[in-house]
Amino acid sequence: MATLEIKDLHVSVATDDGAKEILKGVDLTVRAGETHAIMGPNGSGKSTLSYAVAGHPKYEVTSGSVTLDGDDVLAMSVDERARAGLFLAMQYPVEVPGVSMSNFLRTAATAVRGEAPKLRTWVKEVKAAMSELEIDPAFAERSVNEGFSGGEKKRHEILQLALLSPKIAILDETDSGLDVDALRVVSDGVNRFKASGETGVLLITHYTRILRHITPDFVHVFAGGRIVESGGSELANVLEAEGYVKYTGSQEAAGV
């Protein structure tokens, strides 16, 4: 069973005024079968956590450790992390002009699975996954994320999640910018991914509304670059009612 273990993680980002520490000692363990929600106000460092775990070059880990089933994630390149079973659904998926979605998906699946999927079963697999996410098949021939609406991009992130079936998925504000229908479709996709019980999910969000579709086992409040409180799903309700004021000293709603 997969376990992602984050210990005392400190992360800095380079700014014009020198390195600025954003994560100040994060401790978190996500096991297969568990869904963790990280909630926090804007600027608390939630997204930095996801990018640092995925290996974005902009973020420098200054101390601490991240392991996946005991293997040192921080020693791996970005693509090695993905092949080891980590997946980051991005808040702002990147456009790659001239590279078709179908070519991209197949190249990624080949890399992650270690061999090219058989063409016939692959085509079926992609079609089925697209249809579950209510994605028009015509998107397969469009350039990766190019000209996609916010909702279309998020659906495609979950499509990749479904096809690459990682051990641990980090969803970075996947709910942002989604209308009610799209939120349902995307949440259903994540729930299908969870259903096996063999995968772990780390859901990063500002608002509680996605947690009505995807039930977390644990809720963590993120503020000032670390986890300041942890609890069960009931903690989300408290945050919805009270906002983050208790943690930040300023009014910021967590409810919708």
Partner: protein
Amino acid sequence: MTAAVEKQSHSHGAVVPESSRAEWFTSFDVNAFEVPSGREEIWRFTPMKRLAGLHTGVEATGSATVEVDAPAEVTVETVERGDSRLGAAGVPADRVAAQAFSSFTAATVLTVAKETKASAPVLVTVTGPGAGQVAYGHLQVRAERFAEAVVVLDHRGSGVYADNVEFVLADGAKLTVVSIQDWADDAVHVSAQHASIGRDALLRHTVVTLGGDLVRVSPTAAFADKGAEVELNGLYFADAGQHFEHRTFVDHSQANCTSNVVYKGALQGNDAHTVWIGDVLIRAAAEGTQTYELNRNLLLTDGARADSVPNLEIETGEIAGAGHASATGRFDDEQLFYLQARGIPEDQARRLVVRGFFHELLMKIQVPEVRERLEAAIEAELEAVGV
């Protein structure tokens, strides 16, 4: 006399030359041009020392070999200087083009008869005169009324070569041209390509520059009548030390014509240098003109340099649309991160991005053999630096 002109920016980022493109000096006679010093506007990007004397009157010491593989519907002639048809598509606008026009000994003329569609692409292979040799050449492609053809010009080999290439499109003709410069590392090639486009005719012109020490191609499109359309496309891949220069000019002198210019280049290695100058002139009579030009450059390594200058002159307000865009950038780290975050190894991710960058242009090349060859050439270029 090609006057040196200073350029200044206007508010949209394009440059309006002080001397209008409409007033450029042209002549078939090399002696009508002064020897350029390299400081002139049209020469300022070109490393003159590497021109091997093409601009100072070097005489031919050899000749290029021209082989034509054409379907039966296309007439192929070799003609002497002085054939009255030569020069119909345009007049040299710089000293090297005029030198080539004044110096060639024989010209190749290809004619597609009226209302005829060539059943296969015409392949013209031009092989340079050999290392250390200088040659001049001339080629004219004539598409008569409602004729249709695809012509591939394949330049290869060694040596120094300057030429004029003409495309004469009569009313309703449709001509697709791909000019490939895949020279050996020593080669110097300066090519002026002139198109005269008749009423409702369509020219699709694509320049592909992959090899040579110095390659300078200047495609000029002029409309002879209304309703015509031209696409000027270009794709180039410059390695260390190579200088590839492309200077496009679309002369809108007729009403209701359309032009679209798309040039894209990738550069890698020390002192790889590319230049794109995109001149568009919309004259007072050219009402209803629609024009757009775009240049994009992708710097794959440090030490490479891409110059990009769109020039748009508009002499009438009654146009349908005119625009331009130019951008030069390094590899987009966010694109690489995204692809790698899906498990794709870095080298493969880089290749995907470069292939994607050229994809739009490659799809415009409708000759499958040529497209496949170019895809393979791009792969080989990427292979070479281990990108």
